[in-house]
């Protein structure tokens, strides 16, 4: 019962002290020592399974308790390095597990509750977004090259590096602004599930991971294939998002619930459509449009005709 590391001085003369020490032994001190240890190698599996099995009754009965237990993990003040290390406390298998879970919707299981809690991370969202930025830019350049090469034009093709900056702006704004809006909305509507801001960012970041292989395949210059890929990506990860946030809004009015879920789905799809139209020049109609080179070397010829 007594912790061998702690030295307790028992003064036999004072009865009050004895009572105090016995009540100290019953408090949570030992438990907090176990959760704060960062020997992350052996323990995360145990910790995750213990926390997730405790989570369901805790959520319904006493959400304060869940907040307290979750809060005990992050005790460093925000200006120390250790505070930020808590956001990267994941192992390789966990990251892979989360990526797979974000791509495959499973109606019974909530992605956030099973995979992300109690350990949301920033590693996944950040590196998935950055990878997506570069695969989009690289594939976009490749698609542009294929379309120009196949049309037999005589332009000397040069790549456009500025697709990178544009893709970065689009993807990082999506991955950051939408979760902020959603979190604010859920807080305003007093959602009972208390998704934290970090958890929502984590879910959205991982939900973009399906677009990484899809953006590589979008370089194939066949419009039907490109639209099919976009549809598949949108459906799969959009439905994971909807299934994740359904429990958070289902207690609200019917109209609000459906509107929120439809909006989440549509915004996710708009991102895919935006990529297709801008980076990959997928034609909206049946026939392929004449591909546009990056530079306007043909402009002088056109302007003389107008005169």
């Amino acid at each position: 019962m007594a912790d061998p590391g702690r030295q307790t001085v028992v003064d036999v003369a004072s009865q009050e002290k004895g009572d105090q020490i016995s009540s100290d032994d019953l408090q949570f001190h030992d438990f907090s020592g176990a959760t704060l240890s960062d020997g992350g190698g052996g323990l995360p599996g145990d910790r995750t399974s213990r926390m997730s099995s405790d989570d369901e009754p805790l959520l319904d009965a006493d959400s304060d308790q869940a907040e307290l237990l979750g809060g005990q993990k992050k005790q460093s003040p925000f200006w120390t390095f250790e505070y930020y290390q808590d956001f990267f406390d994941v192992d390789t298998y966990q990251v892979l597990h989360r990526i797979l879970g974000s791509m495959l919707p499973r109606p019974g299981k909530n992605f956030l509750l099973t995979h992300v809690r109690p350990n949301p991370d920033i590693y996944g969202p950040f590196w998935v977004c950055l990878t997506l930025v570069f695969t989009t830019a690289i594939s976009g350049n490749l698609a542009n090259y294929f379309s120009l090469a196949s049309s037999g034009s005589e332009y000397h093709w040069v790549y456009d590096f500025h697709k990178v900056t544009l893709a970065a702006a689009a993807i990082f704004s999506y991955a950051w602004l939408i979760p902020t809006a959603l979190w604010g909305f859920l807080w305003w509507r007093n959602s009972q599930l208390h998704f934290t801001f970090l958890e929502i960012i984590c879910v959205y970041g991982y939900s973009l991971s399906i677009y990484v292989p899809i953006s590589v395949l979008w370089a194939i210059p066949v419009p039907a294939v490109q639209w099919a890929l976009g549809l598949v990506g949108m459906l799969l990860s959009g439905s994971v998002l909807v299934l994740t946030f359904w429990p958070a809004v289902r207690d609200d009015e019917r109209k609000v619930t459906y509107l929120t879920l439809v909006l989440i789905f549509i915004l996710h799809g708009l991102l895919a459509v935006g990529f297709m139209l801008y980076f990959f020049s997928v034609p909206l109609h049946g026939s392929p449009v004449t591909p546009q080179p990056h530079r306007t070397t043909i402009a002088p010829a056109v302007s003389t005709k107008h005169i």
Partner: protein, 225 residues
């Protein structure tokens, strides 16, 4: 307390007040330390040559990562990365208004430095054991194989005005070799600093960093005149 009284004045008269002496660490050579630290008096040429030799030694270590000594990690410096980064950015920048698609000098420079810093921060946040500057130093030095590939590509581009598929294939293979060499060298130096269950999480950003640099190198072509 005991009842015996001690006459304090007797004690202070008898103790000799001799507090002179040397504070030395037993076993360390005392005289050579002074010579190592006072490099203010040496000629400037010697100072520069010493730094150049250190940088050159690290370049050789990067090119032969298997004969790995850890001196690259212990005595880090950022001269080598700076020289490489400036050279790569100068070679990759777009020439003038005719080449609007190519990156600017500042863009390449920022990608290289900010990229190295972000990869280092990532490995530190995951719980790595290396210090910040050691990691940035290693990542910067391991750009050397890719910058050699860039120079070779530039030579190939300058050699003939028309670019055939064969020349493109040669450039592609050169850049691929440079990428593999850089990644392998960086992993040889940085690989052991992470716990095993997170090694892939720390290696992937290194891979992405050199992949992006390789893409910028292979995509670099002449501007149309």
């Amino acid at each position: 307390m005991a009842a015996t009284s001690v006459d304090v004045s007797d004690v202070t008269d008898q103790v000799p007040l001799d507090v002179e002496g040397d504070i030395t660490v037993p076993g360390a050579p005392p005289e050579e330390d002074e010579e190592d630290f006072s490099t203010l008096d040496e000629p400037v040429k010697e100072t520069i040559l010493r730094d150049l030799k250190a940088v050159g030694k690290k370049f050789v270590h990067v090119l032969n990562p298997l004969k790995g000594s850890r001196s690259l990690l212990r005595e880090w410096d950022l001269w080598g990365p700076l020289v490489l980064c400036v050279m790569v950015a100068l070679l990759l920048q777009g020439d003038n208004a005719a080449d609007t698609g190519a990156p600017q000098f500042a863009e390449v420079f920022v990608i290289l430095w900010v990229g190295a810093v972000v990869v280092t921060l990532n490995s530190q946040l995951l719980g790595g054991q290396l210090s910040f500057f050691q990691s940035v130093c290693v990542l910067g030095y391991c750009v050397l194989p890719l910058s050699i590939a860039l120079i070779v590509c530039r030579i190939i581009l300058a050699a003939s005005a028309t670019q055939t598929i064969v020349l493109f294939a040669i450039r592609f293979v050169t850049v691929l070799l440079g990428f593999a060499w850089s990644t392998f060298a960086a992993m040889a130096f940085l690989g052991d600093s992470q716990p095993v269950n997170r090694k892939a999480l720390a290696v992937y950003p290194i891979f992405l960093f050199y992949f992006i640099i390789s893409w910028m190198i292979i995509s670099h072509t002449h501007s149309d005149t």
